[in-house]
Amino acid sequence: MKVFEIKDLRFTYQKNRIKAVDGISFSIHEGEIFGLLGPSGAGKSTTQKILTRLLKAYEGEILYYGKDLKSYTNTFYEDIGVGFELPVHFSKLTAMENMIFFQQLYKQKSDIVSLLKQVGLYEDKDRLVGEFSKGMKMRLNFVRAMLNNPKILFLDEVTNGLDPKNARIIKDMIRTFKENGGTVLLSTHLMNDVEELCDRVAFISDGKIKEISTPRALKLKHGKRILDVEYYDNTHTKHKTFELTNIGDNQAFLDLLKNYNIETIHSGETSLDEIFIKVTGDKIHE
């Protein structure tokens, strides 16, 4: 079932007449993690703001569960959770006070204590958020997004500022959310997150979608069907490249495996980083 169906979406910021989104069409299916990837200023955040009804003066059509998004009232927000790129908390309130305040505004509520325990902030629940590190604030951002037990999560650079251990915790929670039937729109430039989490990805650049597919299909499409072999011939390390097609019948390759000491074998599979640069024509902004 399609959660969102976006048809020929366009948005121009009136102040500077910049076309932030320029005729994009895609859909997000129930229970999938959809990655929206692109360099800064590509139109990811604008698209997310439109889908979360923060920007309303768009052209084109957006259907949410088959119904025009514009026809929904604020009850739409009961369905969604938004994890912003920057911390969004009252710094002079404790973590718990922040979460209680925001959660009260929703009908449906998740267990705050359990969420704080999962992200490792339970011990700090009574500390002022202003005393938190960037990583702690980002973890609290994720808890904030999950407060209303949402059906759909909008996550913007969700692991930004997190150490590998805490990034892993958040990624595991996103995966669990998906396994429980949740849908995720993930905006990021971190390809590790994409590889680990996304079922489908769209590369967006200059307000247009350049590619949309599964990470695997993209890698196959943009990768080279070759095999690089490094071997030692008793004097030097040498290197040979073979076509991957019918590799099992390639006698030269088989002889190499049989007669030499093989040091490394690499396929020509490309990384999402490289695809990102190739498709969007931009470097990844770390």
Binding site: L54, N74, Y77, L86, V88, F90, L93, F101, F102
Partner: protein, 239 residues
């Protein structure tokens, strides 16, 4: 409790946590201390001015700075993705600033009445203080959603004082003559001061009171409806 009640409760919680409540109280105490320094003879002249400063200029400054603080913390944006109405968000902030003004008015007026024997129509003063603080809260909102940063807010405040507040005060002290009245009628600070004076049994023509009431009600509505509401969302999501 409905969402408006929860928002108001949250605003009051933050008034205390962010020490805005305490600052408001401290400023009122400062005015009261000044009254004691001025003495009983002149208290009657200065009490309306102090109340005017507190519920007009302080309201602009308090709401403006608290909104800038929220803009910095990105909390304006996160409230917009909850099921609450935008009107409720703005109304809760408006109410909390009116409360601060209300608290100051009561405190200064009671001290003025009990210790200095100043004659006050307290009910009228409280009703007028709601309208005055509401209009000035909208001006504070306007500054917060139209200006770029806190420094611009302070500059705008200074400009507002020079253009509107000082002439009104000069007029009240007789520095500016009656010929200025027709010019000052278009000043929100002058309209505020006229209403406060009226609550202190000063001789103010009833026509001017009606004009002031209509004027302050109109700017509260027009600023809120056409300048604050549309710009609030734009500013909040731009953080």
């Amino acid at each position: 409790m409905n969402s408006l009640g929860l928002l108001i409760k949250g605003e009051f919680q933050r008034l205390i946590k962010y020490k805005i409540f305490q600052v408001g109280f401290a400023v009122s105490v400062l005015w009261i201390l000044m009254l004691f320094l001025i003495g009983k003879e002149n208290a009657g002249i200065f009490v309306p001015i102090f109340i005017f400063m507190d519920i007009s200029l302080m309201t602009v400054l308090l709401i403006g700075s608290s909104l800038f603080y929220e803009r910095q913390e990105n909390t304006l944006k996160t409230l917009l993705i909850t099921p609450v109405k935008l009107s409720h968000i703005i109304f809760s902030k408006l109410l909390s600033s009116i409360y601060i003004a209300f608290q100051s008015t009561i405190l200064i007026a009671l001290v003025a009445s009990f210790f200095f024997g100043v004659d006050i129509n307290l009910l009228l003063l409280l009703l007028f203080s709601i309208l005055i603080s509401c209009a000035h809260a909208m001006i504070g909102f306007l500054f917060a959603v139209w200006l770029k940063d806190f420094a611009s807010l302070l500059a705008a405040m200074m400009l507002y004082m020079v253009i509107f507040a000082f002439p009104s005060i000069f007029y009240a002290f007789g520095v500016l003559g009656r010929t200025w009245e027709m010019v000052l009628i278009f000043s929100p600070t002058h309209a505020s001061l006229l209403l406060i004076d009226y609550a202190f049994y000063a001789e103010v023509r009833l026509g001017l009171i009606v004009v002031s009431l209509i004027y302050l009600t109109s700017i509260s509505y027009v600023f809120g409806r056409y300048l604050v509401f549309p710009r609030y969302v734009e500013k909040a999501i731009k953080e």
